[in-house]
């Protein structure tokens, strides 16, 4: 199994990244602030406007290190993509599979089943851990709706009806998500899921975590030789990493939502970590982002037993493992794509 390496987060907006030998150097106003050998990291996430030198980009692509640029508020801008390499046969199989509506639908079903089951787990956890304080009846009825929709995923005839089911399930889930927020109710609530821009603190927190997850999922897909831009559920659109979005569906509840809830319920983030702008958009402060990044990074080294591999792995490798089993399925080594079920 691959080793989980560290990710470097650059949050000072004036930083510029350069290369020196095998080192990544972060410069702020021309002065060296930080230096680390490239082989100690597997990703760089850069929140800033200054950017990085082409030499550094080369160092990253040569070493398979993902390099993403985000705005200071965490909106995704760009990702450095090196020479296309890896297994051309696997990629061709991926394209052919994506062109075939039936097999695409089969794989997409896996992603959505994973998503719905994991959403149920999040809801169930809320009832189990905080049964006395949450309105269980509301959560239970949402859960019942999710159960009701599960058979439909298997039965649906085409991608559009699957999208419909997915949309419904997401709605039922986010309708009661607010019930799971137990502390700091004045600052954190979720009346609906909104984005681009997020309009309240909770939505801003979720969007930020999803952006971090997207960086990791895209890197994971590239590592196993899949093309993150050709998806089975999300349709092709220039500049949209459809396959990464597909794979994220089943991982969001586990890696994003649960962490967001923990951060709020354990009061690790507070209302003062968010700023409301004139146009109603909510962004996180630099301090808030640092707290979330710290929690995210810490979460990634927790060990879990992967349900399919039955092997202990760090949480941070889950996207990689899912990318790997997806590649195996496309190659024909296994009969179906096993979604990730959290426990």
């Amino acid at each position: 199994m691959r080793k989980l390496l560290n990710t470097l987060y650059v949050t000072t907006p004036e930083s510029y990244l350069i290369r020196d030998g095998e080192n990544v150097i972060v410069k702020v106003n021309g002065e060296e602030r930080f230096r680390i050998p490239i082989h100690n990291i597997e990703g760089i996430v850069c929140f800033g406007y200054m950017g990085a030198s082409p030499q550094l980009m080369r160092l990253c692509t040569d070493n398979n290190v993902g390099l993403s640029f985000l705005t200071p508020s965490g909106k995704f801008l760009a990702r450095v993509h090196g020479r296309v390499r890896g297994n051309v046969l696997l990629r061709r199989t991926q394209y052919r599979t994506a062109d075939n509506p039936e097999t695409s639908l089969d794989i997409a079903r896996g992603f959505i089943i994973g998503k719905v089951v994991n959403c149920r787990t999040v809801l169930g956890r809320g009832i189990r851990d905080h049964g006395e304080v949450v309105r269980c009846d509301r959560i239970r009825s949402a859960d019942a709706m999710l159960i009701e929709n599960l058979p439909g995923i298997d039965d649906c005839a085409n991608a559009d009806s699957l999208r419909g089911i997915e949309g419904n399930c997401a709605k039922f889930y986010f309708d009661v998500f607010d019930e799971l927020i137990l502390k700091q109710k004045d600052d954190f609530f979720l009346s609906e899921r909104n984005r681009r821009p997020p309009l309240d603190n909770m939505n801003a927190l979720l969007s930020f975590l999803y952006t971090l997850l997207a960086h990791d999922v895209e890197s994971a897909l590239e590592t196993v030789g899949l093309d993150p831009y050709v998806g089975f559920f999300h349709t092709d659109r220039p500049g949209r990493p459809s396959l990464a979005l597909d794979l994220m569906e089943e991982l969001r509840p586990f890696l994003g939502d649960r962490l967001a809830l923990n951060l709020v319920n354990l009061k690790q983030v507070t209302g003062s970590d968010f700023l409301k702008k004139e146009n109603g958009a909510v962004i996180m402060t630099e301090n808030g982002r640092k707290k979330v990044l710290a929690a995210w990074q810490k979460r990634k080294v927790d060990l879990i037993t992967h349900p399919y591999l039955n092997e202990k792995i760090p949480v941070g490798l889950v996207p990689y493992v899912q990318a790997m089993v997806l590649a195996r399925f496309l190659r024909g080594d296994i009969d179906g794509y096993p979604p990730f079920f959290m426990n």
């Binding site: 987060y9 702020v28 100690n40 990044l293």
Partner: protein, 96 residues
């Protein structure tokens, strides 16, 4: 695993000074400079073999010395720091 690399390179001659610079440069590629001629390198066995090979190729065994301390996987409890210029933990949160 964590390997501590320390060296003494004789700088009496110009060749020596050149070797010193080359050794330092090679070490920087693999790890963190914690003191002037002391490096903490978090490497896998293959990377370490490369590092060792290239360092041994640079030094003059008559005049210089090179030492590797193997701190293993649980190196964190084997390292304590006092005073200025505390380094970063390559396995911890990297944020600047």
């Amino acid at each position: 695993m964590m390997v501590l690399v320390t060296y003494d390179v004789s700088t009496e001659s110009n060749e020596g000074k050149k070797r010193l610079r080359r050794v330092a440069k090679e070490c920087v590629n693999y790890g963190q400079r914690v003191q002037n001629s002391v490096f903490e390198c978090l490497v896998d066995p293959a990377q370490f073999a490369q590092l060792k090979h290239s360092l041994c190729g640079i030094i003059d065994e008559e005049k210089d010395s090179l030492r590797f301390y193997y701190l293993g996987k649980n190196w964190k409890r084997r390292v304590e720091h006092f005073g200025a210029k505390e380094g970063y933990d390559p396995e911890g949160l990297l944020i600047t």
